[in-house]
Amino acid sequence: MTAESTRAVEKERSMLLQKELIGGHYDALARAHEEGKKVVYTFVPGNLTELLRSFDLLPVLPEINALQSGMRRKSAEYIAEAEKAGHSEDVCTYVKCDIGMLRKGNVGPTGQTLPKPDLLLLSYTGCFTFMKWFELLRQEYDCPVAMLHVPYQADGRIHGHHLAYIVDQLKREVIPQLESITGRTFDEDRLRESLGRSAAAEEDFVRVLESAKHVPSPVDAYFGGVYYIGPIFSAFRGTAEAIEYYRVLREEVEARTRAGEGPITPEGPMGRERYRLVVEGPPNWTSFREFWKMFYGEGAVVVASTYTKVGGLYDRGFRHDPARPLESLAEYCLGCYTNLGLPTRVELLEKYIREYRADGFVINSVKSCNSFSVGQLAMLRQLEERTGVPGAFIESDLVDPRYFSAANIRNRLESYLQMLDQKRAAGAGR
């Protein structure tokens, strides 16, 4: 085998590992109840995966099911089903997609039926809709709910009483419920071990994200980034498998950096890097590949994104800390991106634009998500003022294909990139 082909095989390894991880998890879910295992539905932001795993509980993340339904082009049918049942056209499409999927038999992304929840863990972090979503599911499943209210970081600071509030809830509400559905007592040592493993994987994950500071960037930190966040934002944080995945991924990315290569796209390695962009807002899932192609087709690579921070801001230094298990989980919940005030979000984006030497930034404003979208126009103006870098504003939705207008978005992006060219030419001519 030549050195070249060895690397080509290795490039695939992280993807294969991730596929195995996810496939294995859905298999485990399909067998869960047969094997006497309990299942907890919960949300990505502020998820308590290590705590759940310390009770041998299996998490299901309905947001991920919804986005997978979007990618598999099932979401339109599911949303229609929910609207037929009386859900408003105006509200978050993740919720409707999930409810529609449930009504159509709750078949998950791998074609296996998802088990019913034994508990709904309502990690109420960064999004009002989460509360309504699980209240709606509670009506469908008639199972217990554990509520974890995470206060909003409006002024960008973690206050002592916010932290204490979350720890109190963990102790008096969440852990007792987990004990009650499993019949086990809370094992703090097990939790600590798991948090230690989280921190190890987080370290490598951050290296992957930060590799995009290199020119050319070896990764796309948005379209590629949504794959990289998969294990750590979902069911695998705190597992040995996640450590392995991020180690392999980091090695692959470092090899690409050394070789001066760009990101891998669905059509193979990306061509020359022409634009470095920062993206705010979640992607569209129903036309994910088409959307991505609008970027890489023009040589635009996303060097940093905020969506890859909804499950934690590891790149700003946060690590799960085995020495302070519950406090550390509380800090984690407080620090997720959508739980941050607008001024903090603007500061973060400003830093990304500077630190990653971006030529521009794009806001993808999704109809579904008030948590993300309200205020993005003010953020756009602030960022332009502060950095002198012009921004682009596009509108779409997460999983409702009715709100993805490819032609409009392509036009908008193309003219934006042309504008960046002109700006560059003017700068060079000076």
Binding site: A85, C127, E135, Q139, M147, H161, Y165
Partner: protein
């Protein structure tokens, strides 16, 4: 002009006071006075009052302002109230306010607090994150710390200590105010023909602007005068409960239309922030602790508040029964996540209880009511037939 006509004209002009003239006048009466604005639903108005400041409820501009700059801040799929509220602020109409509180009603108001910080640096802004855990040792401990922080902010602002005695007095004032509002709701339910909703709503709404003692007196005057008006005669119409209007306000024309369509509105969730606590707050003991506990145990049941027992809709069924209503009209602002996500749960509770309902959406600046009138009329006729059978 009759006393009643005077009251009505006063509350109408207050409802139209988008420039906060009444607040400016109040402040001008004594130099150094301050006013704190707050968005709809829960804020501890008692603390503002105890600090010697005027709590001012801000509910957007309705249909009274052309939105020129506000639309540039919000995408088309976001409700209307933040647009008109930003428009009010950008045009200097809220300059009489010395600060703004944004309660945790939804992510729109939450992020509006951030827009405020970005657009108006240096102004006092606070997001008031109401506890969703109602255990005194957990949510109570947290809420107490939030209230302590608010108390400190206000002390800093006024330069005066906010002592327990003034807080106790403020609690007593608001207990009385909420009692008067409860009397108003009870009176309307008994004789809705005497208290047409469009009118009584504006009486209630005056509480957004007036000092609470004045508002209490006004509400009681109104109850007395309206009940005495010989022109208001009993009339048999369907009785309905209105749900979904707890944040963005309906245009007055919409309330008029509903009653003209043949129903009496006998309960609603308009301006819940003025009646957030459903019972008196005790006056004995530590007043801040009492206020803390009241927010845990005595808050209104509404979409933005978690229901630990999972019995969404029981309060609505109870209200329908207590008010002797025949049905429910869901009337929510377009794009209002809390109201619209709540609705399927409420309708299933009503269906289980065999209570008829209908629904439509509005925007605070809606000007066309023909469709709503027709739909409400049909609904009203059908539930009357229903209740007669």
């Amino acid at each position: 002009m009759s006393r009643l006509a005077e009251i009505v004209s006063r509350v109408e002009s207050l409802a139209a006071d988008v420039d906060l003239e009444s607040v400016r006048r109040w402040k001008a009466e004594r130099p150094g006075r301050r006013a704190i604005g707050h968005m709809p639903i829960a804020v501890p108005r008692e603390l503002i009052l105890a600090a010697g400041m005027l709590p001012v409820g801000i509910v957007g501009a309705g249909d009274r302002l052309e939105i020129i700059r506000g639309d540039a801040h919000f995408q088309s799929y976001i409700c209307h109230i933040p647009r008109s509220t930003i428009e009010l602020a950008l045009t200097g109409r809220l300059d009489a306010l010395d600060g703004m509180l944004f309660p945790s009603i939804c992510d729109v108001i939450r992020n509006l607090s951030g827009i405020w910080q970005l657009l108006f640096p240096g102004r006092y802004v606070r997001y008031v994150d109401v506890p969703q855990n109602f255990d005194p040792a957990v949510g109570g401990r947290y809420w107490r710390a939030e209230l302590d922080a608010l108390r400190e902010d206000f002390q800093r602002m006024t330069g005066d200590p906010l002592n327990d005695e003034s807080l106790r007095e403020a609690i007593a004032v608001y207990n009385e105010n909420r009692r008067a509002i409860r009397e108003l709701y009870a009176a309307r339910s008994t004789a809705p023909w005497s208290f047409p909703t469009a009118e009584m709503y504006q009486v209630l709404r005056a509480g957004n602007l007036l000092p609470p003692e004045d508002h209490t007196a006004l509400v009681r005057d109104y109850i007395r005068e309206a009940a005495l008006d010989p022109d208001r005669r009993e009339e048999d119409r369907s009785r309905v409960v209105l749900v979904g209007m707890f944040c963005e306000q309906p245009p007055i024309g919409l309330l008029l239309t509903l009653e003209r369509a043949g129903c009496w509105i006998v309960d609603d969730d308009l301006l819940l922030g003025l009646r957030w606590l459903v019972d008196d707050v005790p006056l004995d003991g530590d007043p801040l602790e009492n206020l803390t506990r009241a927010f845990l145990d005595q808050h209104v049941r509404t979409a933005s508040m978690y229901e630990p027992e999972g019995r969404r809709g029981t309060w609505l069924v109870d209200s329908v029964r207590a008010r002797g209503a025949d049905g429910v009209i869901f009337c929510a602002p377009s794009f209002c996540d809390p109201a619209l996500l709540d609705q399927p749960m409420l309708t299933s509770a009503l269906d289980r209880a065999g209570i008829p309902h209908t629904e439509f959406k509005y925007s605070e600046d809606t000007g066309q009511f023909a469709v709503i009138r027709e739909q409400a009329g049909t609904f009203s006729d059908s539930i009357r037939l229903w209740s007669e059978t």
